[in-house]
């Protein structure tokens, strides 16, 4: 290993030579290399423009958000209105994106569906972040038995067969948008917990934190003034990736009939509808529009996440 990595050239490896605890050295080294990485990419970022792609991504995300928010006031037909004389029509002047197998306007369903997908995506990740993130922040900083317990707890949730949990909870509880959001949100708690905890842990022993501690700062102050600002970028970046994952996940739940109640559109259940009943060959548009919109949205979210990661240099390894 050492000959592979030319260890003599890194600060950590110098340390390693004198260090009696190899594990600790490795952790240090990871921290150090992250630090050094941060400097270099920050340098790059200062001079490098964000690029047209980034602005395109912001534009698409913005467009989707604005359309979703304004869906109700836009001059759109009722997304649930079935026009039996216009079933499976291709894009035309009356229905810009065509209609589905029940004669519903696909543009309208796409925009109202964006609303559901964005709410599920962002709100559930918000829930995961608020609970999992907070716990992770404290847990990683404090360590000890609280940390072990929370860590074990997150492990149990992750090892639990998710599909059993979802089927059970939906059976008990029902399928409103709020409930689906909460169910998925709870599912993201252990993920957020682990990411934020890892990050918090790595900052807990950094010089500036130790300095603050020796200067007598109280724990909440250190947490909020010293650790939190450093953890936020990781959390936000990971959160954005998770939003994309959740939007896809909602589609899988829709495929299993476990997502929002009919006839509420979501991108996920539009895609599911578009692949059911042989629709893929009869009317590919039902699947095409939401899949393409989702593709662009994922692309945008990830691009934005990517650029933010570059700015703050978060190694995805933390995630």
């Amino acid at each position: 290993m050492p000959d592979d990595r030319e260890l003599g050239n890194t600060r950590a490896s110098t340390q390693l030579l004198t260090d009696r605890i190899p594990g600790q050295a490795a952790v240090d080294e990871m921290v150090v290399s992250r630090q050094s990485g941060m400097l270099s990419s920050d340098d790059i970022l200062v001079t490098k423009p964000l690029g047209a792609l980034f602005w395109f991504a912001i534009g698409w995300l913005g467009l989707v958000v604005v359309l979703a928010v304004l869906a109700q006031v836009l001059p759109l037909p009722n997304p649930n209105f079935q026009n039996y004389s216009a079933i499976n029509s291709p894009p035309n002047i009356h229905h810009l994106l065509g209609t589905d197998d029940l004669g519903r306007d696909l543009l309208s369903r796409l925009i109202f569906g964006a609303r559901v997908s964005l709410i599920v995506g962002f709100a559930s990740v918000g829930i995961g972040m608020a609970i999992g993130g907070t716990l992770g922040l404290v847990s990683g900083f404090k360590g000890g038995s609280l940390d072990s317990m929370l860590n074990a707890g997150s492990f149990v949730i992750l090892a639990f067969p998710a599909i059993v949990a979802v089927i059970a909870i939906v059976a008990f509880w029902g399928q409103s948008l709020l409930k689906i959001t909460i169910i998925i949100g709870v599912g993201t708690i252990p993920l957020m917990f682990r990411v934020v905890r890892a990050s918090s842990l790595s900052f807990a022993n950094r010089d500036f934190v130790i300095a603050a501690r020796t200067m007598g700062a109280i724990t909440p102050r250190i947490l909020f003034r010293e650790i939190l600002p450093n953890v936020v970028p990781v959390a936000v970046t990971f959160g954005l990736i998770t939003v994309a994952g959740v939007i896809v996940l909602e589609g899988s739940l829709a495929f299993l009939g476990l997502s929002v109640a009919l006839p509420t559109p979501s991108w996920g259940n539009l895609i599911a509808e578009g692949t059911a009943n042989g629709n893929l060959s009869i009317n590919p548009y039902i699947m095409l529009w939401p899949a393409f919109s989702m593709f662009l949205l994922l692309l945008s979210i990830n691009l934005i996440g990517d650029r933010m990661r570059l700015r703050f240099d978060i190694r995805e390894g933390l995630l």
């Binding site: 290993m1 592979d4 990595r5 030319e6 050239n9 890194t10 190899p22 594990g23 050295a25 490795a26 290399s33 992250r34 050094s36 990485g37 270099s40 990419s41 690029g51 074990a152 492990f155 149990v156 992750l158 090892a159 639990f160 067969p161 998710a162 599909i163 059993v164 949990a165 089927i167 059970a168 059976a171 008990f172 993920l191 994309a244 896809v248 589609g251 899988s252 495929f255 299993l256 895609i271 599911a272 692949t275 893929l280 699947m287 899949a291 393409f292 989702m294 593709f295 949205l297 994922l298 692309l299 990830n302 990517d306 990661r309 240099d313 190694r315 995805e316 390894g317 933390l318 995630l319």
Partner: protein, 314 residues
């Protein structure tokens, strides 16, 4: 190391136990019970009482759990209330399918993601990198239930390259087995490729900025050698961690693909048995999945030490 193994083992037992209790409670509290599915239209109050008694489901919950747990310790996971297939048999026939699906899909995912990341990370944000990034996000937006019907339409019905559905055990006919598994495995590969590619690419980019790489370059080593011998290994932490999470989610999580391709792996059996309230099957599969998950994390941790022997995880 022994201490580490013991800790891991205790963790495994504890997690398996907690999950078995949770799954037990969850499925028993679901509305409906196996008698409903078994009796169907004969579901009269009297018949239900007889049947619940026969199945031992009239006992208090804690008692049912201890009976089940005792049997598990004797290596008996019970049997389906519906078709009386033993849970051990369901696991023995289902698990190889899940394992094969996961292994094949992950091999493909790594085989695509790793070379792609090695090539594009050297020149990030250049055209090739952008194409690869866009392509992988495209894959991310295509859930298995979209990819599968498209692949079947093209490669099975259209080109006749692969069968549309079917499964032959590997031990019976390896060639036919692989032939059957190509499309199902590919359908779940897409998401993995995207995630692995993103992570490895990003880690490689940071690794390539490190001093030891600059050093290697200054020694005049070839790019190929630098990428493969120097940069790759230290950049695989995220990849491994993500693979752990991803494979963990695929354990009995491939229901949609199994359903579409009519192969009854554990994912299929699990969903169907939850829906039919076939308690013992749900409990048996969940237990094995939980153990497999713990074991998987153990393997991932072990691989960390292979990648970097200095890392003995906390």
């Amino acid at each position: 190391m022994t201490k580490y193994l013991i800790r891991r083992f205790i963790q495994l037992v504890v997690v398996a136990f907690i999950i078995s209790v949770l799954v037990f409670l969850l499925v028993h509290l679901l509305p409906g019970d196996p008698s409903v599915t078994i009796l169907g239209p004969n579901d009269t109050a009297q018949n239900r009482t007889i049947l619940l008694h026969q199945l031992g489901l009239n006992k208090p919950l804690w008692n049912q759990y201890t009976i089940w747990l005792t049997a598990v310790f004797h290596g008996n996971l019970g049997q389906s209330y519906l078709n009386h297939e033993s849970v051990t048999h369901i696991l023995a026939t289902g698990a190889p399918i899940d394992i094969e699906l996961i292994v094949l899909s992950q091999i493909v995912a790594f085989a695509v993601a790793i070379p792609l990341a090695l090539v594009t990370s050297r020149r990030p944000n250049r055209p090739l990198d952008n194409v690869a990034s866009t392509g992988t996000f495209g894959l991310l937006a295509m859930p298995p239930f979209v990819i599968a019907p498209i692949m079947v339409a093209v490669f099975a019905v259209g080109l006749h390259w692969f069968p549309a559905t079917g499964y032959v055990p590997f031990t019976k006919d390896p060639a036919a087995n692989l032939h059957d598994m190509v499309l199902p495995a590919l359908a779940i590969t897409a998401g993995s490729i995207a995630v692995y590619y993103r992570l490895l690419r990003s880690d490689l980019i940071s690794t390539l900025q490190e001093d030891f790489i600059t050093m290697a370059r200054s020694k005049g080593l070839s790019n190929r050698r630098i990428m493969l011998r120097h940069a790759f290994r230290p950049s695989t932490f995220s990849l491994l961690a993500a693979a752990g999470v991803n494979i963990g989610a695929l354990l009995a999580g491939t229901f949609i693909v199994e359903w579409l391709f009519a192969i009854s792996g554990l994912g299929y059996s699990l969903v169907v048995s939850v829906q039919q309230r076939d308690y013992l099957v749900v409990q048996g599969i969940s237990l094995v999945v939980a153990i497999a998950y713990v074991f998987l994390q153990f393997v991932v941790d072990f691989l960390f030490t292979v990648v970097d022997p200095r890392v003995i995880r906390e």
